[in-house]
Structure formats: structure tokens, C-alpha cells
């Protein structure tokens, strides 16, 4: 884990099912996240992903990479263009800084119309440190 490391990109197919399942799992019943007609009435050509789902995908992207022992400390995201059905978002990440077992990762998510999300994630990854003389490893 070093500054400059790049994470393997994660491709996310933006299906209607993902948008609706994410909205309902996050208890967000705003109609623009499940009702295309209501979304059109509000000026959007279709439903679009809610911010909580994007937040969850960013968290997943980081823990997929660093493994189940990774502990998310902070996730900060800003949304740009919407994630609408039929699109694909590619999440990319670069380790910006490392301080001991804690890293700050810069994340972007691009889809077919532009940048959907930018953000930073602070994650702690417990490392196995050899304890001298014992032949054992301590966390």
C-alpha cells in the first residue's frame, strides 16, 4: 500500500434494478429513483441513482480492494452527472497518501455522460507485523 498505487477499476452496470433496489435498501422513496414518469415530470429523462447507493458502491469498491479486514473511516463524495439506466459506471481509485496503516484513496466514477462521482475514502488496513524473536506475527 503506497501512495500512487492504483486500484483495479470496478465496472458497475447501471440497471433499473440496481437503481430501484439501492433506493429501497437505503429507504429512499423519492419518486425520481423508481418512477420514470415522475422523474420526467421533474425534468430528468429517466430515473437516476440516489446518492446513498453511490456511497455504498464507493465503499464496496474500497473494501473489495483492501479486503474484509479493511475498516472504512471516512467516505466523502460529490455527485456530478446522474447514473441512469442502461449506462455503465467505472470506479477508479488512486492511493493518495499513506500514514501507517491508514490510506486516503481518491475515487472517481465515470459513466457514458461524464463524471458521476468524485470523492476520497480514508481506510485503515491492519497490517501483519512480524514480532521479533517470536516467530509469530502480531497485528
Amino acid at each position: 500500500m503506497r501512495a500512487g498505487d492504483e486500484l483495479a477499476p470496478l465496472e458497475v452496470a447501471i440497471t433499473r434494478t440496481l437503481i430501484v433496489a439501492g433506493a429501497v435498501a437505503s429507504r429512499d422513496y423519492q419518486d425520481v429513483h423508481h418512477d420514470p414518469e415522475a422523474a420526467r415530470a421533474k425534468g430528468s429523462p429517466d430515473i437516476f441513482m440516489n446518492i446513498l447507493t453511490t456511497n455504498g458502491l464507493v465503499g464496496r469498491f474500497i473494501t473489495d480492494h483492501f479486503g474484509p479486514t479493511a475498516v472504512l473511516r471516512r467516505v466523502a463524495i460529490r455527485l456530478g452527472v446522474p447514473n441512469r439506466p442502461g449506462d455503465t459506471m467505472v470506479l477508479r481509485g488512486t492511493v493518495e497518501e499513506v500514514d501507517g496503516d491508514t490510506a486516503v484513496v481518491r475515487v472517481t466514477g465515470e459513466n457514458g455522460i461524464g463524471r458521476h462521482v468524485t470523492g476520497t475514502v480514508t481506510v485503515t488496513v491492519p497490517v501483519l507485523v512480524p514480532v521479533p524473536g517470536t516467530g509469530e506475527e502480531a497485528r
Binding site: V12, G22, S26, I51, G59, T63, V75, A76, L79
Partner: protein, 307 residues
């Protein structure tokens, strides 16, 4: 400073007054942190992290906000100040909402069985901002989520409350223009006045009666000679209609059309601007101003002054 700017400043001062006030006080999660909701979330997100299953499961930290959501049951614990702020923005035409930022810090993991409470403060309300979506105000809230009184996470959330940008230009591919006035020998003097930002009223030189709109002769005595008086610009709404349908190119319904009684006593039909269409009232004081709609069209309109 124009009346429009004054109205905007007044609104911004009212919005700023909400900074620091509570948006939710002692809110409680609808459900304790629980395995089924965690599983539904993980299925939706496609998250197979083993940390979120089994006897020692923790909730995905990014679910923090989900535990505070009211769902279809509504937002229990939402404070009146927050409802007022949202209503004030709705009244100002900022009826649409979109989330723009989410910043979460996780103090300790949430586990099934944890019962969360939360307090939310309105951290800031921005000045008027124009974005691609439309013009509006960013509202930032900060929520502290607690378990047994101890902080478990902090959630800062920013939404944009905005008036949707005027949509597609007309079929010509560009913004439709307002209809042109029909200018003839009888009313040319009126439009010449408008061009010079003067609202001119005809006055019969025989009997002194003021008349509007412009006509060739006096309805009172029949004389054809006239001169003009410049309107001082003060008026009141004598009556009005709200135009909803059908939509015309270059107009965005609903909008208010006023019959304005000028201080001089004559009446003129024109737009009432600067107040929401549903706030226009009979008797409301208005003030003349000249608005440019395109490179060749200037019209006299009336700025409402809300009571």
C-alpha cells in the same frame, strides 16, 4: 438597487437565519440495526464483504444514513425549523431537490441490535447559485448518529433546492421570443415612450381626461387632440389572472398577469414580476420597471412588493 435585488437579498437574509438551527432533534432509527436490512443493502450494492455477515457482522459503514431514514412512514423527529426552511425555498420557486454531497465519518461500527438516535443541525444555506440544473440554494446539514448516547458516526449531507432551468428551446432550435407588439399610427407614441423607458398616458387637451390604452379620440368628449403625461410608476394590482394553460413559446406557466391601476387612475395589463405567481394579490403595491426581453423588445412590467 433594483427591486429584484432587494427581494433576493431579503430572501437570502431569511434563509441565512436558519443556519445553526436544528433540522432533527433526538430522532430515532425506525428499526434497530438489523441483519435483514444489511443483507438487502449488500444484495443491492453487490457487496460480498464477509465482514457484513455471520455472528460478528457489522453493518456496512456506508449504510449510516439509511438507519436514519424515515422511509414511507415520513420523517419522525424532523424539526419545525427545517420544514420551514424547505417551505420557504419551495415558495421561492426552488421546488426541485437533488443531493450533491455526502461526507461520512465512522467513529465505531454499527452492529445488529444497536439502536441509533440522531441530531441534525442546519449547518449552512448558500447564497443563490446558478447550476446546470437551475438556480437555487445549497443546504448543508450535519447529523451525529449515536448509540447509547455515544457518537457512532457523523454524516454531513448537502442538497441543492432549485428552480428547474427553463427547458428545451422551441422548435426553431433556439429560445422562442415573445410576440412583437403591433405598432400603428395610433399607438406609436406609446411605444416610442417605452423605448425611452417612459410610460406615457394620453391626455385629452379639450377636457383633460386621461386615457389608456392609446386611442385616436377621447371617449369622454370626442375631441381628437391630445398630449401625454408620464406615469410616475406607482400602481396597485386592480385584478389579476394566473396563466396555467395553454403554454405559449417564450412563456413559462404558471405566471401572473395583472391589471394594474396606475397612480394616475388609468389601468394597464402587464406582467407582475418579482413575486411568486401565487403571492400576487388584489391591492398589492407595484412599481413600474422596464425589462429587456431581447435585443429589440423592452416592455413595461410591474415589480410586486410583497406585504
Amino acid at each position: 438597487m433594483s427591486g429584484t435585488e432587494e427581494a433576493r437579498d431579503a430572501l437570502e437574509a431569511r434563509l441565512k437565519a436558519y443556519e445553526g438551527r436544528p433540522a432533527a432533534t433526538a430522532g430515532a432509527g425506525r428499526d434497530p440495526v438489523n441483519a435483514p436490512m444489511i443483507r438487502h443493502w449488500c444484495e443491492a450494492i453487490g457487496d460480498t464483504n464477509p465482514a457484513y455477515t455471520g455472528p460478528d457482522a457489522i453493518a456496512p459503514p456506508t449504510m449510516l444514513q439509511a438507519w436514519t431514514m424515515g422511509g414511507l412512514g415520513g420523517h419522525a423527529g424532523r424539526a419545525p425549523a427545517y420544514e420551514e426552511l424547505l417551505a420557504l425555498l419551495d415558495e421561492a420557486g426552488c421546488t426541485a431537490v437533488v443531493a450533491t454531497d455526502c461526507e461520512q465519518e465512522y467513529v465505531r461500527p454499527l452492529r445488529p441490535g444497536d439502536e441509533i438516535t440522531f441530531d441534525t443541525v442546519i449547518e449552512s444555506v448558500s447564497d443563490r447559485k446558478t447550476t446546470k440544473l437551475g438556480t437555487g440554494h445549497f443546504v448543508t446539514t450535519r447529523t451525529v448518529v449515536r448509540v447509547a448516547g455515544e457518537p457512532a458516526g457523523v454524516h454531513r449531507f448537502r442538497i441543492l433546492k432549485y428552480a428547474p432551468a427553463r427547458r428545451e428551446p422551441g422548435p426553431s432550435g433556439r429560445q422562442e421570443r415573445r410576440p412583437r407588439p403591433v405598432i400603428n399610427r395610433d399607438n406609436a407614441g406609446f411605444w416610442e415612450g417605452v423605448r425611452r423607458h417612459r410610460l406615457l398616458i394620453q391626455r385629452c387637451t379639450a377636457c383633460g381626461t386621461l386615457r389608456f390604452p392609446w386611442l385616436p379620440g377621447c371617449a369622454s368628449c370626442g375631441a381628437q387632440e391630445w398630449d401625454t403625461v408620464q406615469a410616475c410608476g406607482d400602481g396597485t394590482v386592480y385584478s389579476y389572472v394566473v396563466m396555467h394553460h395553454p403554454p405559449f413559446p417564450a412563456f413559462s406557466p404558471p405566471f401572473a398577469v395583472g391589471l394594474i391601476e396606475l397612480a394616475e387612475g388609468v389601468r394597464i395589463v402587464s406582467d407582475v414580476v418579482g413575486v411568486p405567481y401565487d403571492k400576487v394579490r388584489i391591492g398589492m403595491s407595484v412599481r413600474l420597471e422596464f425589462r429587456r426581453y431581447d435585443e429589440e423588445l423592452v416592455l413595461p412590467v410591474f415589480q410586486g412588493t410583497a406585504a
